[in-house]
């Protein structure tokens, strides 16, 4: 098994360390300043191949990786934005099946998250395949005693394939930073019954000194702006306290949640993942609870 992680400016993506751990420390870092990222993998990675290339070019990356991966039967990428984009191209270039959105990968078994985090599909994989691993699903233990990983550099060879041109990389939105750095977050999910609930949530958030976050279902409905979305394709946050209203807790959401010291979840379904993660899990209608909470706090 070997991990492939796209690196930008020496930074690892969400889930970068986890795929490395899933593949027992062996991996390829491709992108800008992979050697800086290799440092951050100390205690996790043992054996790294570094491919330096200034910008993210999925088609060209796939071509360049083929010779490096041809005799590796299992290739795992993080299901972060870049990993998700590269994986199908790599699968096509290597002519191998892709199992996207896994929470566990090994030669015998791949567990895939499906239906918006409701179901787990257990697959017996082919001999050689590619998978993407959901960030946050497995966790990592850094082994302090492990020596720095052995690294080897491989030159990036440009090919004739077409990729889009990146014209700029914008820093996170100020609003995103507000959320990313918030110590307390109140989050709203599809269990809320309308856009107004997000306003109500903001009001309650103010009273609790908390920022407002949302799930993808909520931002897709336009009830909250994009920069409020917590998760793999949203903002990665690291609050101390997370209070979730009507949030199912799909792995794509919780992977962006960090590891709050305290989680409260209000949901009508006692069995959903968010309730299992919560320190205080309350089975109740989130909407009516918001009404009551707003009243109580005013």
């Amino acid at each position: 098994m070997i991990a492939v992680v796209v690196v930008r400016d020496g930074l690892l993506p969400a889930g970068g360390a986890e795929v490395m751990a899933e593949c027992e420390g062996r991996g390829v870092l491709i992108g800008s300043q992979p050697s800086v990222a290799a440092e951050a993998l100390r205690g996790v990675a043992t054996d790294l191949t570094l491919v330096e290339c200034d910008s993210f070019q999925p088609a060209a990356f796939a071509e360049a990786l083929v010779p490096l991966l041809a005799d590796q039967s299992i290739v795992v990428l993080p299901a972060s934005p870049d990993g998700r984009d590269l994986a199908p191209r790599l699968a096509a270039a290597l002519r191998r099946p892709l199992h996207a959105g896994a929470i566990a990968v090994n030669a015998q078994r791949v567990d895939l998250v499906r239906n918006g985090g409701r179901d787990l599909h257990r697959v017996v994989p082919e001999a050689a395949f590619i998978a993407t691993l959901q960030p946050g699903a497995r966790g990592v233990v850094a082994d302090e005693l492990l020596p720095a990983p052995a690294t080897r550099n491989v030159a990036f060879r440009a090919t004739a394939v077409v990729d889009v041109a990146v014209t700029a990389v914008l820093p996170p939105d100020p609003a995103t930073i507000d959320l990313a750095e918030a110590a307390r977050i109140v989050g709203g999910g599809a269990g809320l019954d309308g856009a107004d609930r997000m306003m109500q949530l903001a009001d309650i958030g103010r009273k609790l000194g908390a920022s407002v976050g949302a799930t993808r279902v909520v931002t897709d409905r336009g009830w909250a702006a994009h920069e409020r979305q917590i998760g793999t394709t949203g903002v990665v946050v690291a609050p101390q306290l997370y209070i979730a209203f009507g949030v199912a807790g799909a792995v794509q959401h919780t992977s962006g949640l960090g590891d709050p010291a305290h989680i409260v979840s209000v949901n009508t379904d006692p069995h959903c993942p968010m309730m299992q993660l919560a320190d205080l899990a309350i089975v109740a209608d989130a909407n009516a609870t918001l009404d009551a909470l707003q009243e109580l706090l005013s």
Binding site: A14, A17, E18, P58, P81, D82, D85, P88, R89, A92, L98, A100, I103, D111, L112, G116, D119, L120, R122, V123, G136, A137, R138, G139, A142, V162, V164, V166, T167, A168, V169, L170, P172, T219, D220, R221, H226, T233, G234, V236, A238, I243, G258, D259, P260, A261, H262, I263, V264, P270, P273, Q276, D279, L280, A281, V283, A284, A288, L293, L296
Partner: protein, 268 residues
């Protein structure tokens, strides 16, 4: 097909899916929000460049519903590649590619709500030898190209200059689908849909389904942007979850319980 046509041929890939809140009811099935956005942008882009939109779906006869919706909204051609539901993403993409070989612009949703791998667009780009702009949050139309903003890690965004041929996948809130006119809806109800047999044997995935349960985590991964946050999240990891409680409460009691617990935890 002439090269002039080639640069104006716009395709949108629409998947017929069961909606999350009505999982087993086909009558509620339809496009995902992301596919709605893709359709709207495909239509706007086609108008912008003077082209026409072909809507393609891979699925069973019931999937015609999404094509009719696309036709009612302004697509001019609709193709269904006839398969069962649950075909592998690679095969879906190659089936679409065989119909959309000459397309200059292919619009997709970011991910489908059931399968949710977001891999069809990437596969499509590979099969069409096109460039890809995936997980796009916003677009600006230039004269013959598109400036797309895409989200990358850490809340940053990337601005892309997209030239044909390209596959663009968009998130659900990127655009709101227009409302079809009554006349167009009536016309779409009886408009022809081209039904194509797949040229290859389609594979469906074999799996055992379970209810999703989070995997036991070795330890929280260090996710904070700052080193200090990472240390904090690492050290806080073991200490969290004093006692896991599940309580069924009336709303007023639930609110009171939350406030009381926040006090106990020292937040209030």
């Amino acid at each position: 097909m002439s090269s002039a046509n080639r640069t104006t041929e716009v395709v949108v890939c629409l998947k017929w899916v069961f909606q999350a809140d009505e999982p087993s009811d086909a009558r509620f099935a339809g496009m995902s929000p992301a596919d709605h956005a893709a359709l709207e942008l495909a239509l706007q882009w086609a108008t912008h460049i003077g082209g026409q939109v072909t809507a393609i779906t891979v699925g069973p006869a019931q999937a015609d519903a999404v094509l009719r919706e696309a036709l009612a909204c302004g697509a001019t051609r609709a193709v269904r590649i006839d398969t069962a539901n649950g075909v592998s993403s690679a095969d879906v993409a190659s089936a679409i590619a065989s119909v959309a070989r000459h397309a200059a612009w292919v619009w997709c949703g970011d991910y489908s709500i059931d399968n949710g791998s977001g891999s069809v667009p990437g596969y499509l780009a590979a099969a069409l030898q096109a460039s890809q702009a995936l997980g796009v949050l916003g677009v600006t139309f230039e004269s013959g190209s598109i400036v797309a903003t895409r989200r990358v890690d850490g809340g940053r965004r990337e601005v892309l200059d997209v030239q044909a041929p390209a596959v663009i996948s968009v998130e659900g809130a990127t655009a709101r689908l227009r409302r079809a006119s009554l006349t167009a809806m009536r016309a779409a109800a009886s408009a022809p849909i081209e039904v194509v047999a797949p040229s290859i044997v389609m594979r469906t995935s074999e799996h055992i389904a379970h209810t999703y349960r989070p995997r036991a985590r070795a330890l929280a991964s260090p996710t904070g942007a700052e080193a200090l946050d990472r240390v904090r999240s690492l050290t806080a990891a073991g200490t969290s979850s004093a006692a896991h409680e599940v309580e069924t409460l009336e709303p007023a009691d639930a609110a009171a319980r939350i406030v009381q617990t926040l006090r106990e935890w020292g937040y209030l």
